[in-house]
Symmetry: C2
Subunit: 387 residues, 2 copies
């Protein structure tokens, strides 16, 4: 049976060959603690981490790569910022399009640390007027935290305008770029972000277990380190060092994973964001156009394929979404994800809670043939269940 | 030049072939989000994580493997417990033989959360009388946290006796088993531990970026989840689920790393802890006996090779330890780690602060030839610098 992977918004399953090779090479030849020992392979392991940091600095236009912090993934990055930054009584502005990686820690902080949260409501297309965010700013507002693009319907928020508002009001801004890093042109310096949180295993084509955050000098100064421990530097001190990136990187690095992430980022740089986007956007247009022709299928997306990442949701009348996802896999080899996608408030916003949707998310390794095959499969399912 | 890796207490550099294969296979064939999608390869990815959990349950005799939590490493485990458990005014008992993964977060909690800490002082051999710990227990004592074995001189603490004290006094006990998991027989149920923190990349022969913690039911109930987010379960809820292990496992798993850790643990189970220990202890005895014969070399260890892990420290008169470590690598290909080893208070305890030592740590893949070669090399260096 043909296999067609359309769950790239979870994890890009196929990686460039260079990523497999970087992970394997590092496992085999640099399986030691990076930059801790003074011997050759430890120094080389440290260099591999530096290389990955440099590649990320190129991709995101970061002047000083020490402000790029590696974490085990974006969920960790977001939690480390929220817990390291917010004090009792602080106010946070976020949106109704967030992932549970934002919603759950914030709900907990509301309950346990008297943090106030304004949940700015998007419309059913996932759009937010930046003015809505500015209206919520108060004296106690410490952080604006927005999902750069929806993991359900792909809508991209106007980050530059939101960044302009945060700067004008001197409030820190964190962008959750889980869905956009490796797809959108994210210029950290020119956007003037304070915190850009990213994950490695999606459109940066790195392994699961990798990710990080890029911090402005102000953010690096004001956020306290949540996870503390050995940094291989200032080893004689019983206090966490203030220097970057050690302040936020304790414990033995995931060197094989980080080397793989570095290779993934280099792949993105080599292909070029514009070419990646052109390819995937064409597939997205093909998908939306094909699905539009199918009776009994409802499409949930931003309404404009140029202003979103290549992730959309659908529902099929008279068919449970979990069952539809299983049928797509079993009968057609099409891999999708059904349900709530760890984003209940997003589904409430677009009107698909609690039943959820099937999400179809495109990656660089998808082809036009994948898309026509998928449209054909969904056509058959929709017909079968709506005789 | 011959290569001889003696930095196993940092990371075991050589892994069993099955570990490389498990990581590579998972990267190539299960590079999707485990148990999130309903399709075959996601289900298989989920099964690989379950397999690793089961292998750990066998090794540590854990009745219900859901109480084994995967983390990115032991530093994360320790921080997650301290931050998730301790409230203002709580009292913690620990020792003067801890790693900075314990010292740094505790020093921070002393300053910022009014946590009181008793640092029970070991003697110069790293030994602690459990009675010293019991004497420190007060009404507000919430946690006893001990380094099961020193990462500098290898001394093993009497964990069963300390566990008996913690049970009798109804105080939670966390054992930092960074140096003992995979070497000592650690029976979680029979010891009656509350928290066993372990790392994957040392004597469990897993990849860097893996580790975890095993929790008792009480610990799982009383510790709050520090890192919250998507768990792929209870997806419709905006609150972190209480069920195990999801309560403490948010975000996409490091499936390739965890599969590698599973293979490492199976390797340990296959060889058998007793055989591993017999082999490494023989090498340790050979090393200590050889070093004893060298003038101008001081050995720091527990004084009894049977009651410690195969990690010792040395100093050489008239030679800076950093320089000695570099000479061992450059001239002889012997990889060691010099300095403070992220454990300043341990070095203060054994009297080697702030100059530090050279640490020699043995792993399963070392041979008697490695040891005689190392003794010969150190003999030459000591002679050269003490003419």
């Amino acid at each position: 049976m043909k296999k067609c992977y359309l769950d790239n918004a979870s994890t890009t399953q196929t990686k460039p060959a260079s990523v497999y090779q970087a992970v394997n090479d590092t496992m085999q030849h640099n399986g030691c603690s990076p930059s801790r020992g003074g011997y050759g392979c430890a120094i080389e392991a440290g260099r591999k981490i530096l290389d990955a940091r440099s590649a990320l600095a190129r991709l995101f236009n970061v002047a000083d790569s020490r402000y790029i912090v590696f974490t085990p993934g974006i969920t960790w990055s977001i939690n480390m910022v929220l817990l390291g930054l917010l004090k009792e009584g602080d106010h946070v502005i976020t949106t109704s399009m967030e992932h549970n990686a934002v919603t759950r820690p914030l709900r907990c902080l509301e309950q346990e640390k008297q943090i106030e949260v304004s949940w700015v409501k998007a419309n059913a297309l996932g759009q937010i007027d930046p003015g809505q965010i500015e209206q919520e700013i108060r004296a106690k507002t410490r952080l604006i935290l927005v999902n750069h693009a929806s993991n359900i319907i792909g809508t991209i928020l106007p980050l530059a305008e939101i960044a302009e508002i945060s700067r004008r009001n001197k409030v820190l801004l964190m962008a959750d770029c889980a869905q956009t890093a490796g797809y959108c042109d994210l210029d950290f310096q020119n956007l003037g972000l304070d915190i850009l949180a990213f994950t490695g295993h999606k459109a940066l084509y790195g392994p699961p277990g990798t990710g990080g955050m890029i911090l402005s000098e102000r953010a690096a100064r004001e956020i306290k380190p949540v996870i503390q421990g050995g940094t291989g530097s200032s080893s004689a001190s019983q206090l966490q060092p203030e220097m970057m990136p050690e302040k936020f990187e304790s414990g033995t690095h995931n060197t094989p994973g980080i080397a793989g992430l570095g290779a993934g980022v280099k792949f993105v740089l080599d292909i070029g964001l514009e070419n990646i986007r052109r390819h995937e956007q064409a597939l997205l247009e093909q998908l939306v156009a094909g699905l539009r022709e199918i009776p009994f299928v409802t499409i949930y997306y931003s309404g404009n394929t140029e202003k979103q990442v290549p992730t959309i949701s659908i529902t099929i009348e008279n068919l449970d979404m979990g069952e539809a996802s299983i049928l797509l896999d079993e009968r057609y080899g099409i891999m999708t994800r059904s349900g709530i996608h760890c984003a209940p408030i997003s589904h409430q916003t677009i009107g698909t809670f609690p039943l959820g949707t099937i999400r179809l998310s495109i990656g660089y390794f998808n082809t036009p043939a994948d898309i026509s095959y998928t449209v054909q499969a969904i056509t058959e399912l929709a017909k079968e269940y709506n005789k």
